[in-house]
């Protein structure tokens, strides 16, 4: 294995485009694609073509909400083939440490350079609630494992390997989860485990997020990890209410609900809200990027990115 | 069906229903002869298996009569009795006997007329439901025996 790529005399841990962008001080924009519930990559290919110039990377989800879909590794390869930059999500729900390591090796061999480590939604929320879950290791242990494979060229068992996977390591955090003190402590733990970028749960309550960021800054974490604020463009009042009431870790202020209720055109209002949120979030100290999750509304990404003034995406030579 | 005289077992608390029955008697109130009373020191003495056994041994209907809620001589006996009755009702549904054949009533020792009313009400209910499936099966076998 050659030495990690270098640029501007700076040493990089990986060949990841995201790592280089963050290093250059760019404000990074990522988005998300959920694969189909079928043996076709048509929608992935379509969304990649439609939006690849509007963001720096696409998360490709790993059976999100525990619903069986085309695998995140396969999805990531489709994105790659069509000129996009995939961020492969990997959860601990469906694989033990053997499968996880094997999939990491396989994914890297296919050209995937970014991985996002998560616990995974509990299977009771999905379309196979009677499934057995795995959770052999948890998300923080997964982060540490990816780092161990990369930096120590060793498997979890300690066994050495020759061609190590060199992933740029991402993780998620829920700024509004409970208890708050533990959340910041847990973020620190993820950073210590090896997380290099963080995508947060969707934010609607900017004030509360700003408070969380102040805690993050006082812990010095914004200097050690690239934090990307999560945004979900919402199509309707119903969707907004659903998130407020049913999704753990999402806090929607009442003003936003009222504003949406009064809107003549809820879709347009939803876009406007997303654009405004991005504007406010990017100005919070320590926020290094935006992660836009257009859940089953992928087509809206170009417009939102453009209106937020983030369209001209930087190019890496 | 109109000739069907159900066999009904009434588990009666000594402090209320049993005394109410006495009162009904001295008031010369009529209540059906189908009711067989069993005295309990408290309705809370009732056990799941006693209720089931009553059905197994030929009852078409069973009820437990305890004191008004809040007036149990042993504080919570009647509340416990009600819970057990509810449980056995479900079991009887599962067994195909029917939970409707079992009921819990609350009354006080001064309620002689209410005692008679409950006895009538339960008799009417069971009459409408017909014999317990166990008794049907039983009378069927007897009849077969006679025919042979």
């Amino acid at each position: 294995m050659s030495d990690p790529a270098t640029q501007d005399g700076r040493k990089f841990t990986t060949e990841s485009k995201l790592e280089k962008l963050f290093a250059r001080g760019e404000f990074v924009v990522t988005s998300e694609i959920g694969p189909q519930k079928g043996a076709s990559a048509d929608s992935i290919i379509h969304h990649t073509a439609e939006s690849k110039t509007y963001c720096d990377g696409f998360n490709i989800t790993d059976n999100q909400s525990a619903v069986v879909r085309l695998s995140s590794i396969a999805g990531a390869v489709h994105i790659l083939r069509h000129g996009g930059n995939p961020i492969m999500q990997m959860t601990c729900r469906d694989r033990n440490r053997i499968a996880i390591q094997s999939d990491l090796l396989g994914a890297y061999s296919l050209g995937i350079r970014d991985v996002l480590c998560l616990s995974g939604d509990h299977q009771s929320f999905g379309n196979h609630p009677s499934a057995k879950n795995v959770f052999d290791i948890d998300s923080i242990q997964l982060i540490a494992l990816v780092k161990m494979m990369r930096d120590e060229k060793r498997m979890l068992s300690g066994e050495e390997m020759k061609d190590e996977p060199r992933f740029y390591i991402g993780a998620v955090e829920s700024p509004f989860g409970d208890p708050l003190e533990l959340r910041v402590m847990r973020l620190a733990k993820k950073v210590r485990a090896g997380a290099q970028f963080i995508q947060t749960q969707a934010i609607f309550d900017v004030e509360q997020f700003a408070h969380w960021m102040s805690l993050v800054r006082s812990a010095g974490l914004d200097q050690r990890v690239n934090i990307m604020a999560g945004v979900i463009p919402v199509k309707s009042l119903r969707a907004l209410k659903y998130m407020k009431e049913n999704v753990a870790g999402i806090s929607v202020p009442d003003e936003l609900i009222e504003r949406m209720a009064k809107a003549e055109n809820q879709q347009e209002e939803g876009k406007a809200i997303a654009v405004e949120l991005i504007g406010k979030l990017r100005n919070i100290a320590g926020v290094k990027g935006i992660h836009i999750m257009p859940v089953s509304w992928e087509a809206v990404l170009p417009e939102i990115v453009t209106r937020a003034g983030l369209h001209a995406r930087p190019v890496i030579d | 069906m109109s000739t069907f005289e159900p066999r009904i077992i009434a588990f009666c608390c000594y402090y209320c229903a049993y005394s109410a029955a006495d009162l009904a008697g001295s008031m010369r109130l009529q209540y059906p002869a189908s009711i067989r009373m069993i005295e309990l020191p408290c309705s809370g003495k009732i056990e799941h298996n006693m209720l089931l056994t009553a059905f197994e041994e030929g009852a078409d209907g069973v009820y437990v009569a305890g004191c008004m809620e809040g007036d149990c001589h042993y504080l919570k006996g009647n509340i416990r009795a009600r819970k057990r009755v509810e449980y056995v009702k479900k079991l009887l549904d599962e067994l195909g006997i029917g939970g409707d054949r079992l009921e819990m009533f609350n009354l006080s020792s001064a309620m002689g007329p209410r005692f008679a009313e409950i006895a009538n009400e339960m008799t009417e209910r069971i009459r409408a439901l017909g014999p317990s499936p166990l008794n049907k099966a039983h009378s069927q076998t007897e009849k077969d025996g006679e025919d042979a």
Partner: protein
Amino acid sequence: MIVAEQKPLTEIAENIKDAQKVLVVGCGGCVTVCLSGGQKEVDILATSLRILRKKDGTPIDTATETLERQCDKEYVDKLAEKVQAADCVVSLACGVGVQYLAERYPDKVIIPAQNTKFIGGTTEHGIWEERCALCGECILAQTGGICPIIRCSKSILNGPCGGSQGGKCEVNPDTPCAWTLIYGQLKRQGREAALGEIFPVKDWSKARDGGPRKYVREDVLL
């Protein structure tokens, strides 16, 4: 204790449909305490089965017995005569008791009447909750006496996950988030800083994943 819940009557009845003489055996251990397989439940089940079969016109005879424990050979031995006289045996013990009967009386069909659910305790009269995952390597010293393996829906060792809200687990709003409890407990004891350390991956070979387990005490072998 081991907590078990009785199977639906129809399932038990289906499994004994060819029998005329049925022995119903309870256990005086855990399942008596959790009110699902002691003497009382034995009587209720026996009566229920008799009623069911009488109703169907195929009456059965039942015999009953409740052993001190079904997971001890000495007690199981005492059943020999009654087992001999029965066509089949219905056990109200946990899965261990059922297997002990099956091992001791290999010629008889032994039917489980319970679904063995978990190791737990009573939180209030009539409510039992799971507390131990039998993982084989206890970590309660580090987690404030609260087990994340069994009480966290994802068995996370570095929790809580994003699904914890208002101190509850998103999988079931009745379930407290184990990691919120752990944090609260460690904070009370001034030990919460320990949660900053990454909890290492668990050795599951000590749990059931390593195959059926055995425990030997050389000093008490006869």
